[in-house]
């Protein structure tokens, strides 16, 4: 890995934050570091703009060179998925409409015509950060996070569309739900998609939602049937 591309900050040997002007290299580097399983690293967290490595007592300064010397694989093939969403009448729509100045129908139109891709996993198991939202529907996060967001909710947060795979607290604005459960925590990785896969949101009716949910359809099955 080209030394000049990376910037590493060391926080008291407790953790490292790795950044780069080339965001895309961080994803590949993060995967390399994770697969390397360094004995001086406890956790590897990869986000769009940073990699964080939690260090343990085995770490010393010489190890920084080992990280910089890692060979990094370039990106793999991307897949396109359609994700069905029923846009129900949740309480967050009030803020979304007033902030964007658009009606619910207009917001949905902007969303289904946005070209989205998976830019990060993180936050919680199965949670997906989708980038590519049109500027008009980029809504800032809540100032006080909600204590409860139901699993399989779709929400707007800053420049991302998020999918909450499990129940959790959340600071994003919930605008709909998907009948497909993508999380299978009994296996690793726990979701069947990769970084940079492309996602298109498809609007469905309440009836279609109930039908797909009742059939316990998987993402693969839904996309095969189209």
């Amino acid at each position: 890995m080209d030394d000049s591309l990376l910037h590493i900050d060391n926080y008291n040997d407790d953790f490292l934050i790795i950044t780069s002007d080339e965001h895309l290299v961080l994803r590949a580097l993060g995967l390399s570091i994770f697969e390397q399983n360094f004995e001086f690293v406890n956790e590897v967290i990869v986000t769009e703009a940073e990699i964080c490595l939690q260090l343990n007592s085995k770490f010393h300064a010489d190890h920084l060179a080992e990280i910089k010397a890692l060979k990094v694989e370039s990106g793999s093939d991307r897949t396109r998925y359609k994700l069905p969403v029923y846009f129900d009448d949740g309480e967050d729509w009030t803020f979304v409409e007033s902030f964007s100045g658009l009606t619910k129908a207009q917001v949905i139109k902007e969303l289904v015509t946005s070209e989205l891709n998976i830019s990060m996993f993180g936050f919680l198991p199965g949670f997906m950060y989708l980038s590519g939202l049109k500027k008009a529907i980029q809504i800032p996060r809540k100032s006080v996070p909600s204590k409860y967001v139901k699993s399989n909710s779709i929400a707007l947060g800053g420049k991302y569309l998020g999918l909450y795979a499990i129940d959790s607290p959340g600071g994003w604005h919930v605008i709909g739900k998907t009948p497909i459960s993508i999380l299978d925590i009994t296996g690793l990785p726990p979701v069947p998609m990769n970084l940079e896969d492309q996602v298109q949101i498809v609007e469905i009716s309440k009836l279609e939602f109930e039908k797909i949910k009742a059939e316990k359809m998987t993402l693969g099955e839904y996309n095969r049937d189209l």
Binding site: F15, E43, T47, A49, G122, S143, K159, S168
Partner: protein, 275 residues
């Protein structure tokens, strides 16, 4: 608060020990320290004490000890048939003793050595970084020797337990805080909100000013990180917390401190201290 214990009968080879003094064999000084490290550690752990703190070590025959103030004790190691005020007590259990209580025992069964740890901080100094006694060279422990009849050991209560002070380090977005906010962070007496759970500890106090309450990108977070959401009230991320987040990471607490932090009751107060 200060307290003391008095040796009424010394037993056989009773001494103050701790973890040994390491690295001095070059000078022909042996490590000394507790002969059964595991038993000594169990006693300290049960009282939530530091693993380097001193304990009393007994050999073969138990001493008789009178307590002149209340404290909590744990006895581990071999079974010396211990009694407090002539009532049998258990090993490996935290128990309270009070002013006037007498602890005694007889010969060791199923083993040779036992350990007594007390909750209070014993008034013993370190010699070459260790509390352990090396009697041959009159080094360390209680005046460098085994305990005798009439010896009195003093202790004081750990003041740090009284105030809940939480040491923290600057986080990646510490610079976002205004100077006033940096001062407030260490001077505010924060209340631990009842909304606290395994994901995070929410603190309630005066709102902290920051150049931003929302990062452009979601960034990694770990247990112990302190986030600043738009309401300006810090959240300390805990062991079930999320792995990424969009709020500024103004500070962080070392993972080793979380054991202590996570025992602070809801509704109690804490103060943050910058390292």
């Amino acid at each position: 608060m200060k307290g003391s214990l008095e040796i009424l009968k010394p037993g056989l080879m009773t001494s103050i020990q701790g973890v040994g003094r390491k690295g001095l064999a070059y000078y022909a000084i042996p490590p000394s320290g507790a002969m059964d490290e595991n038993a000594a550690q169990v006693a300290l752990l049960l009282l939530g004490k530091n693993e380097e703190d001193p304990v009393l070590e007994f050999t073969s025959l138990a001493p008789e000890i009178k307590f002149h103030e209340s404290t909590q004790i744990v006895i581990t190691g071999a079974d010396f048939n211990w009694k407090i005020n002539n009532q049998s007590i258990s090993l490996n259990t935290v128990m309270s003793v009070h002013n006037g209580d007498v602890l005694k025992g007889s010969f060791a069964k199923k083993g040779l050595r036992g350990y007594l740890a007390i909750k209070g901080k014993l008034d013993i100094g370190r010699v070459y970084h260790s509390y352990s006694t090396y009697a041959n060279a009159k080094l360390g422990g209680f005046h460098g020797r085994f305990l005798k009849k009439g010896d009195v050991l003093y202790w004081s209560d750990d003041e740090l337990d009284m105030d809940q002070v939480v040491p923290f380090y600057q986080g990646p977005e510490y610079a976002f805080l205004s100077d006033t906010a940096k001062d407030l962070l260490v001077s505010t007496v924060y209340k631990i909100s009842p909304d606290t759970n395994r994901m995070g500890m929410r603190l309630v106090g005066e709102r902290l000013e920051s150049t931003s309450y929302q990062l452009e990108n979601s960034v990694p977070v770990l247990p112990g990180f302190i986030q600043l959401p738009p309401n300006g009230q810090p959240i300390i991320l805990l062991q079930d917390g999320q792995t990424t987040g969009g709020y500024p990471r103004i500070a962080y607490i070392k993972p080793a401190f979380l054991s202590k932090l996570n025992q602070f009751p809801l509704g109690s107060t804490i103060q943050l201290k910058k390292i």
